[in-house]
């Protein structure tokens, strides 16, 4: 069978000394769906960025269509028929679907006086949309589309360029469970067009449903490439992580009676969250499920104190915290794990010590005026040790040099070190490897045993069902249903998440 892509002993060492890939070799056959699986920090992103010409490998050779391949810029990769759908959308909000898709080739539609002929451009995009039987209008602005449609636009962009070799980087991370099946079907359709697909995912269920062959990466090494029929989920998971892991979890069992947090009818200015009410008891993990963009971020910000509310009240152990700012809320016993560790949760250019101190310094742990260096160090070292943050024993390292999983463990460790009454955790394990995920989950379990409560906002249904005592589903800023362990039904939950159930009073519903 024809090998469209051959990687021979490809290595990549970053200037900061991080060895992301170590003599990686594997082949991709033309016309197959080839999954690449691995923990975060295993080198998947580095590998894909090399294939797309964003990064140069340190050594090794790549053959594409039997030709030596070393793109210096994405345009070279695109010219060879490689298309990449990034994990983070690279769509421009203020321009239309067609403009986004055609961007880079829109000069083909220039008519006289170099004016871009909008109609011709829209028509050419519409023909592609029709061929794939999708329902998007080329003239819609991106900021008016829901997430799942944006994902499709992202892929249309690649197909429009007639890419034969499509790289999908964790494409299902942003989709609701019932959207995933459609999406997988869509990818199979791409294979039927004779194209080769590289599919990167953490979710082994999807990988097994979709891929023909699987390449496993672990810490920069290729463990092997396997035909799907020769392996099963458990063995792949073992090869990814290196030790046998238990994939199934049960929520902790330490519910108390007292309410630690009560939220009464909160709504924000823009109406993104509407009339939200719930109670959190001591020792409870309360999960908020939902498709991204249904009020999760606003809920987090409302609890953190960075969002202005127009109505409602938030009470922490009986006293209202609605009018307090973030600092005062932290003093009252709140800890916050944001979903955006690089943007909001850490200062990436600062050292591990400085990142651990942040917030805690307001509690006089390191002195009132002068910083007591030894206290700061021992505090940091205990977090680094307890949460297995791998930084080569050097706590002066800039956080940026850590892998995503280690950053997240640092962030979680710092927040739990507050010994909070209530911990608000938003997407605490997004894009994190399985080992780190387990460590983080265990730390939540330990925390609730001490009588604290945890608000777990997550798009990962498996995580929520395995950890939360109760689940509230958010849809368009409202709590549409509530379920209690052990009466969880994933299909049912996904119906609520996507508005098929529970949104009867909503003017957007189609039932």
């Amino acid at each position: 069978m024809f090998q469209i892509l051959v990687c021979k002993r490809v290595s990549k060492t970053y200037p900061n000394g991080l060895e992301a890939l170590r003599e990686v070799s594997f082949e991709v056959r033309k016309g197959e769906i080839h999954a690449i699986v691995g923990e975060n920090g295993a080198g998947k992103s580095t590998l894909m960025n090399i294939l797309f010409g964003l990064i140069k490998p340190t050594s090794g050779e790549i053959l594409f269509n039997n030709n030596h391949f070393s793109p210096k810029h994405p345009s070279e990769a695109i010219d060879l028929g490689i298309g990449m759908v990034h994990q983070h959308f690279k769509l421009v909000q203020s321009i239309t679907v067609a403009e986004n898709i055609v961007l880079g080739m829109e000069n083909r539609f220039q008519s006289k006086l170099r004016r871009v002929d909008r109609e011709a451009m829209n028509e050419s995009v519409a023909s592609l949309i029709d061929r794939l039987r999708m329902s998007i209008s080329p003239d819609d602005r991106i900021d008016s589309l829901p997430i799942s449609k944006r994902q499709q636009v992202e892929i249309l962009k690649v197909l429009y360029r007639e890419a034969d070799f499509v790289i999908l980087d964790e494409p299902t991370a942003v989709l609701a469970p019932n959207e995933v099946e459609d999406f997988l079907e869509f990818v199979r359709g791409i294979r039927e067009m004779g194209k080769t697909v590289i599919f990167i995912s953490h979710r082994l269920g999807e990988v097994f449903s979709l891929a023909d062959r699987i390449t496993i990466l672990r810490r920069g090494n290729v463990i092997g490439t396997f035909d799907k029929r020769d392996v099963d989920r458990e063995s792949v998971a073992n090869m990814m992580i290196g030790t046998a892991t238990d994939l199934s979890e049960d929520p902790p069992d330490c519910l108390g009676n007292e309410s630690v947090l009560s939220v009464e009818g909160i709504s924000d200015v823009s109406g993104t969250i509407r009339d939200l009410s719930f109670q959190l008891r001591e020792g409870e993990i309360l999960g908020f499920a939902g498709v991204g963009g249904n009020g999760q971020e606003e809920l987090f910000e409302a609890l953190a104190g960075s969002l202005r509310l127009v109505s409602g009240d938030i009470r922490l152990v009986g006293s209202s915290i609605s009018s307090l700012d973030t600092l005062e809320r932290r003093r009252a016993g709140l800890a916050l794990i944001t979903d955006d560790r690089m943007g909001k949760g850490l200062a990436p250019d600062r050292s591990i010590v400085e990142n651990c101190m942040a917030g805690h310094h307001k509690f006089g742990k390191f002195g009132k005026w002068l910083i007591k260096d030894t206290d700061a160090r021992s505090f940091t070292e205990s977090i680094v040790a307890d949460y297995d943050v791998r930084c080569g024993k050097n706590i002066k390292t800039a956080v940026r040099a850590l892998s995503g999983g280690n950053m997240q463990k640092l962030l979680v460790g710092r927040e739990i070190a507050y010994e909070p009454v209530v911990l608000v955790a938003a997407q605490p394990t997004a894009g994190v490897d399985v080992a780190a995920r387990k460590l983080i989950h265990d730390s939540f379990r330990r925390l609730v045993k001490t009588g604290s409560g945890v608000i777990l906002i997550s798009g990962d249904l498996e995580e929520i069902m395995g950890l939360a005592n109760r689940i509230i589903v958010l849809y368009r800023g409202r709590a549409v249903t509530e379920m209690t362990h052990p009466h969880y039904d994933p299909t049912e939950i996904s119906y609520y998440m996507t508005g098929i159930r529970g949104a009867q009073d909503d003017r957007y519903s189609h039932s």
């Binding site: 690279k90 321009i95 880079g104 080739m105």
Partner: protein, 299 residues
């Protein structure tokens, strides 16, 4: 009110608005490309200097303008290489360039002309006006007989509106500022778009400098741009880089400059007259921010 007074005020406003308009149109291009251009001050100054030098040497305002534009473009190219390719901080490099040019022009003036703080000579050729006498007072004073660069600048404003919103380059330019990764993903080099925007900006700031030193005053003096590069920046921030709005705001700032000139002959202390354009640009910026705050609610 005296009709002569209004006429003078109007004509001075237009005269003073022209360099601000040209510079802010140039800066609008880099603004869309994602660069807040703080080097416009220096670009105008270097052009003002070389325009005067070459106009003096060749006796032709045209060659003077060309020299100014080329000098400004070269410096703008340098700025762009730093900001877009070496990824240096645009404020840091912008101010370094401004200070460089402020001292460089002074240095060159001393070396070349032994002048102290200014250089002027009757041999400096001034920029042509569209000299037409129709006999109609309104036409002659309100539409005709301005510097040719004034007409050019207004034409450029409309041309840029077309380029930014209708053409392929314009689309790429706007994407460059809003989401450069999208351009990279589409195989377009962000740096190249920013480079072109910067070169064009350099050209326009070059015209602005030439208008200042070859028309408005016909001499070169130390730091003669007097913060106009930053008045232009304020105009860009207020207008969101939309060329037609830039046109309007620049005219407004030109009016304040004209009032400043007018008031210097009045009874009040001249320092307050000289202060006026700067205070007004802060005030207009303030009003703009108060208005946008009202629109979007308190953040």
């Amino acid at each position: 009110m005296d009709i002569e007074l209004i006429t003078t005020l109007f004509r001075t406003s237009i005269r003073m608005a022209t360099p601000i308009l040209l510079a802010s149109l140039g800066g609008a291009l880099t603004y869309h490309a994602g660069i807040i251009n703080v080097a416009m001050e220096g670009l105008m100054l270097i052009s003002a200097f070389f325009s005067v030098v070459f106009s003096y040497l060749t006796g032709s305002a045209f060659y003077g303008i060309i020299a100014g534009v080329v000098a400004s473009m070269l410096i703008s190219l340098l700025y762009s290489v730093f900001v877009s390719f070496l990824k240096a901080n645009n404020f840091a490099i912008g101010f370094a360039i401004n200070i460089l040019i402020s001292s460089l022009t002074l240095f060159l003036m001393r070396v070349m002309f032994q002048g102290k703080n200014a250089f002027n000579s009757p041999d400096i050729a001034s920029i042509m006006e569209l000299k037409v006498k129709t006999g109609n007072y309104f036409l002659d004073n309100y539409l005709l007989n301005f510097s040719i660069l004034t007409y050019l600048s207004i034409a450029i404003a409309f041309l840029l509106a077309y380029i930014i919103y209708k053409t392929s380059f314009g689309l790429r330019l706007r994407v460059c500022g809003e989401m450069p990764q999208a351009l990279t993903a589409a195989g377009i080099k962000v740096g190249v778009i920013q480079l072109w925007a910067s070169i064009l900006c350099g050209g326009l700031c070059g015209l602005a400098g030439a208008q200042l030193s070859l028309y408005n005053v016909r001499m070169f003096s130390r730091d003669m741009t007097g913060g106009r590069g930053f008045v232009a920046l304020a105009a860009i921030l207020i207008s969101g880089g939309k060329p037609k709005r830039v046109l309007f705001i620049s005219l407004l700032f030109g009016l304040f400059d004209a009032l400043s000139v007018k008031l210097q002959n009045e009874k009040i202390a001249p320092q307050f007259a000289l202060m006026l354009p700067y205070i007004m640009s802060v005030v207009v910026l303030l009003l703009f921010h108060l208005k946008t705050r009202k629109q979007y609610g308190k953040a």
